[in-house]
């Protein structure tokens, strides 16, 4: 089991090699080294998977050293290998490898390519710490580490101030969540006297369901998850995070990092099961985010922004699943989402690459014939995300929907509505980019090199077939993925839906999806409508959607501006007008007092004598009185 140490150490090694040797490494060397190490890490993860399987145990802990040990606070630097973390490890390293390889092609020729791969490797390392940590604090190390790497990589092209701003925004939004997270960890520690997963979960059973403490703990942890997984109200950083290179968006802001919140809640499933209030909050937030982000996605014209909002929306679905107590379903959706969203982003990257850096879908079109591989893979991913069988997204999304139906048909209706919107904007994107005429004359798109297309193909296969990991009973499967996770994640068992209803629901959603796709086809291919340019005045609602409901502006007005003016106020008024003068005036007062008493010292001896006599008199009187 000590092999597990290699999993995070290999990317760390890669970080050190590419980071320290960044002046020496030439051309693609850094990319190759980084990719190889992550690939090795993936191989080790897979090996671990089989070792664990053959050992017959559910989990294993590997302790590295004692990190902090004070009083009852004992935090080992240890890794927990169980079914959940193995799943995440394989996703992170597997998808990570593909994206690393893809990046070799994508980042080819960038002057800071070595630095890029160093940061990517550091990210992989942090993400592995996050998913492998055996206690909340090691998880937190990774949690913040991925935040840092995301900061670095969003601002990778640091010469652009807007990118830097986006990077800072991402980091700070994450930090807001992190504060909640760390307070949650502390409350957890002071409740259970431990932050190690196994010990906490063991003791958690003693707590009453719905008690204040457990609700508070879960809510605080949830705040962290909201920040990291870009849920309302802390989601605005993720669309801006698209400032980074596209592979970064694929790896960090779609496939892995943003799912950390889902992982954390799934990991804490025992706690969350005890807090029904929190679960309800999660359902509300998840559903709201899913629909809200999907609506915004309808009107975005930047290819990466569309994908970003779709990510936010899909994360909302995962939260919905979590809130419904279907943790393994959520993780399953994480997995399939990782496949198809990574594919979408990489495909988008390929398109951008081909278009020479152009990201506006209004200026694309007709790329189907120019970029056949990209088109096909992109199509697979679009079908997957829309939930068309047998693509992977269908399985995971349908499971979430049916869980929602079990809980409340209303939830189901809303979730389905969100799914339809998703389907619409995804096909809108697909049609605008690949169908119709090329809308920019002087660009000559060309298919990306093999090093980029091969990962696309692999991911396309995964997106297509990934769903078969978890075939529902309805289709004669036995939920292999979910039951694999059951040892690590305690899902709430709802009553089994009868198959007829389920069948009906699937049929309903498929019909609706077909209508939506046709509608999109009608609008964007047949009528060849192109979204209006920025200068065109839109109707009020559409304008609001196009401007992302002005949430950024709202935040700026409510938080940023007041903080800035408070800062100025404190410095200009409190510091410079009250505190500083207060001190200076004490000094000045002394000087004034000196100037006053100086007048007494005017050198008149008879005055001195008077003063002396008066003093002696007072003195004697004083003695007499006392």
């Amino acid at each position: 089991m000590n092999l597990a140490l290699l999993v995070p150490l290999l990317p760390l090694l890669g970080f050190l090699i590419t980071g320290l040797g960044y002046k020496k490494l030439k051309h693609n060397q850094a990319g190759i080294i980084a990719s190889m190490l992550v690939a090795l890490s993936f191989i080790v993860s897979v090996t671990l998977f089989f070792i664990l399987k053959s050992s017959g145990k559910d989990s294993a802990t590997v302790t590295l050293f004692n990190w902090i040990n004070i009083g009852s606070l004992n935090i080992p630097f240890a890794f927990l290998i169980d079914h959940l973390s193995l799943t995440m490890m394989m996703i992170v390293t597997g998808i990570g490898t593909l994206i690393h390889i893809y990046s070799i092609g994508y980042m080819h020729g960038d002057e800071r390519v070595n630095s890029f791969f160093a940061q990517m490797n550091l990210f992989t390392f942090s993400m592995l710490l996050l998913v492998m940590g055996s206690n909340y604090l090691v998880l937190f190390i990774g949690w913040e580490g991925v935040g840092l790497c995301s900061y670095l990589l969003i601002g990778f092209w640091y010469k652009n101030p807007a990118y830097n701003y986006a990077a800072r925004k991402a980091f700070i939004m994450n930090r807001i969540g992190d504060l909640g997270f760390i307070l949650g960890i502390l409350l957890l520690f002071f409740t259970f006297k431990s932050v190690t997963f196994s010990e906490v979960f063991q003791q958690a059973g003693a707590l009453q369901t719905g008690s204040t403490t457990i609700t508070l703990i879960t809510l605080l942890l949830l705040v962290g998850a909201l920040g990291k997984s870009a849920q309302i109200p802390l989601y605005t950083w993720l669309p801006d995070a698209m400032a980074g290179p596209t592979p970064v968006s694929a790896l960090i802001h779609a496939a892995t990092m943003v799912t950390a919140g889902i992982y954390m809640i799934a990991r804490s499933s025992i706690l969350y099961n005890l807090a029904p209030v929190t679960l309800e909050v999660i359902v509300v937030i998840g559903l709201a985010t899913a629909i809200f982000a999907a609506i915004i996605g309808l009107k975005q014209n930047d290819i990466k922004k569309v994908l970003a909002y779709s990510t936010v929306s899909q994360l909302g679905y995962m939260f919905l699943a979590l809130g419904l107590g279907a943790y393994s379903t959520a993780v399953f959706h994480v997995t399939t989402h990782a496949f198809f969203k990574a594919l979408l982003f990489l495909g988008a990257g390929s398109v951008i690459h081909a278009m020479g850096g152009e990201q506006d879908i209004r200026k694309m079109g007709g790329l189907k014939s120019k970029l056949p591989v990209t088109y096909l893979t992109f199509l697979a991913a679009t079908l997957a995300i829309s939930g068309i069988p047998p693509f992977s997204g269908f399985f995971s999304k349908d499971m979430i929907l049916s869980k929602a139906f079990e809980q409340n048909p209303m939830l189901y209706a809303l979730a389905l509505g969100g799914a339809l919107i998703t389907c619409f904007y995804m096909f809108r994107l697909l049609y605008l980019v690949f169908f119709g005429e090329n809308r920019t004359a002087n660009v000559h798109p060309h298919e990306s090199p093999k090093v980029m297309t091969v990962p696309l193909m692999i991911l396309a296969v995964l997106s297509t077939l990934g769903g078969f990991l978890n075939i529902p009973a309805l289709l004669g499967g036995k939920l292999g993925f979910s039951s694999y996770l059951d040892s690590a994640v305690t899902s709430k068992s709802g009553e089994e839906m009868n198959h007829t209803t389920e069948m009906g629901l699937i049929a309903l959603s498929l019909v609706l999806l077909a209508i939506v796709i046709y509608w999109a086809y009608n609008t964007f291919v047949k009528k060849a409508e192109v979204p209006a340019g920025d200068e065109v005045q839109l109707p009020a609602f559409q304008k609001a959607v196009a401007n992302k409901f002005y949430v950024d502006e709202l935040y700026r007005a409510v938080f940023e501006k007041p903080l800035a003016s408070l800062s100025v106020f404190l410095f200009k008024k409190v510091e410079s007008l009250i505190l500083d003068p207060a001190v200076n005036n004490i000094g000045r007062g002394t000087a004034v007092l000196g100037a006053l008493t100086r007048k007494l010292q005017r050198g008149n001896i008879s005055f001195y004598l008077f003063a002396m006599v008066a003093g002696i008199l007072l003195f004697i009187v004083f003695i007499l009185i006392i």
Partner: protein
């Protein structure tokens, strides 16, 4: 005896170096002395000395010259002697006036600081406390930047005024001791002072420390002083001298006036938390790198003050750990700020930007120091702040929440600073800017390695302060 050596090496070599003629000779000698002291300090850490050093001093007042160490002072001494070689090195290769005198003053400061942290006698403590101020005063006055005269004067008088209260407190305690009076800490600690007295005596003793730290609202001397100070001055002031306040408070308040501490605890914690938010918010809109670092230092110290008064095990250990980590981080930050100034001629944000284009390694090291300052996990700052917030949490959720805001606010202003200095397009003015040279590596790499190293392996420091923490919580 070895403790006395720790004190005497910088003292004697400080006096000696003043008579050197050659610039480089003086610097080499000073660094050698500081490194020797560091080696001895490490030796002391590895082989703890149980008995201190004691000698007759002022016989008729029954005041002894006695030195000893415990966990708290070990941390402080280690920090002091760790930073001073770098402080002295920071002057290398730079044109400075009267180098022998400067190095002499730096070494004398070191001696006085060592004395403060080892004194077992309130009077001796006070003597060293004031003694440390004198060389620093001259370092600031002679080698400082713009407007140094008035700023230094204010700093000097401000701290001196605080010390006056301390002296009064010490004399008051002295005459309370039974029998032939004494100023030994051990005698002070055994005093049973009535609660009424403790409540006012607390402030008498605390004011000096509060000014030194500084705690809101006693901080107004600090930002201009740090801004004006030379690199070495700022490193000493921010790195070590602020810790004198913390050390003093730990040494005086908790054992001697525990009831006073109990009485004023909420007030001071809230003052500390106000300081955290106040300083962070001000830093947010500051336009000068050095002032911003000064406010960030104040924010961290305020959190430390709050944690100190929570006085549970986590808070105190976190505090002592943070003493180390903050000292190292802030020294590195000030050195980096000095490099910025050297390379560009300014620390005003509106004149800076895009340094990363020309000096990528500089930018990376700067970023690491910034990350240490904003308490990213696996840097030393995180361990300290996490434990302090844990301590605050044990007292009250709200304390922890407001203390924890430093995580967010710190990230806001420090990353803003990083962005304004390093990121952005290349400015034509900075065409000739070069990356770091070997000396910069010698100073920065060890400091940054320590920042990360302590973040990954904090346990040795905790083992070192194990004794201290238990003593404190007992006194409380």
């Amino acid at each position: 005896m070895i403790l006395l050596i720790l004190l005497l090496i910088p003292f004697i070599s400080g006096l000696a170096v003043a008579f050197f003629k050659g610039t480089q000779a003086a610097r080499t000698f000073a660094v050698a002395s500081a490194i020797l002291n560091l080696v001895i300090t490490i030796f002391v850490l590895v082989n703890p000395v149980s008995e201190g050093y004691s000698a007759e001093w002022i016989g008729f007042m029954n005041i002894q010259f006695n030195l000893a160490t415990d966990g708290i002072s070990l941390v402080m001494i280690l920090l002091t002697n760790l930073l001073f070689p770098f402080v002295i090195l920071a002057g290398w290769g730079r044109s400075q006036r009267n180098v022998p005198m400067l190095n002499s003053l730096i070494l004398l400061t070191q001696a006085a600081l060592n004395g403060v942290f080892m004194a077992q006698n309130a009077f001796l403590f006070y003597v060293f406390w004031e003694l440390a101020l004198i060389p620093v005063y001259f370092i600031l006055l002679v080698w400082g930047g713009d407007d140094r005269k008035s700023i230094t004067l204010r700093f000097f008088i401000y701290t001196l005024a605080g010390s006056l209260f301390l002296l009064f407190g010490i004399i008051y305690l002295y005459q309370l001791t039974p029998g032939s009076h004494t100023t030994d800490f051990s005698a002070f600690n055994q005093l049973q002072i009535p609660e009424q007295t403790q409540t006012w005596l607390f402030w008498i003793l605390f004011v000096a420390f509060a000014i030194k730290m500084p705690v809101f609202p006693f901080h107004t001397w600090q930002p201009p002083t740090y801004k004006m100070a030379s690199t070495q001055g700022a490193m000493i002031l921010a790195g070590v001298m602020t810790k004198m306040g913390i050390y003093g408070a730990l040494r005086f308040l908790f054992p001697i006036v525990p009831l006073g501490v109990q009485f004023w605890q909420p007030v001071v914690i809230i003052l500390g938390l106000i300081g955290v938010i106040y300083a962070s918010v001000i830093a947010f809109k500051h336009t000068n790198l050095k002032t911003m670092i000064a406010y960030s230092s104040m924010a961290h110290i305020s959190l430390m003050a709050a944690a100190m008064f929570v006085a549970n095990e986590y808070a105190v250990k976190g505090l002592l750990f943070q003493v180390m980590s903050h000292g190292i981080t802030i020294a590195a930050l000030f050195y980096l700020a000095c490099l910025v100034k050297e390379k560009t001629g300014s620390t005003e944000f509106h004149q800076l930007g895009g340094l990363k284009n020309k000096a990528p390694i500089f930018a990376i090291l700067f970023l690491i120091a910034v990350l240490g300052s904003i308490a990213l996990p696996l840097t030393a700052g995180f361990v300290g702040e996490f434990l302090m917030i844990a301590g605050l949490f044990q007292q009250s959720f709200w304390y922890a929440l407001f203390g924890g805001l430093t995580m967010i606010l710190g990230a806001i202003y420090m990353l803003y600073a990083y962005q304004r200095v390093m990121l952005g397009g290349q400015k034509p003015v900075f065409e000739k800017v070069t990356d770091l040279n070997r000396l910069d590596y010698i100073i920065l790499i060890p400091l940054l390695v320590l920042i990360i190293g302590l973040g990954v392996f904090p346990q040795p420091v905790f083992d070192m302060i194990k004794i201290a923490g238990s003593a404190l919580t007992m006194a409380h």
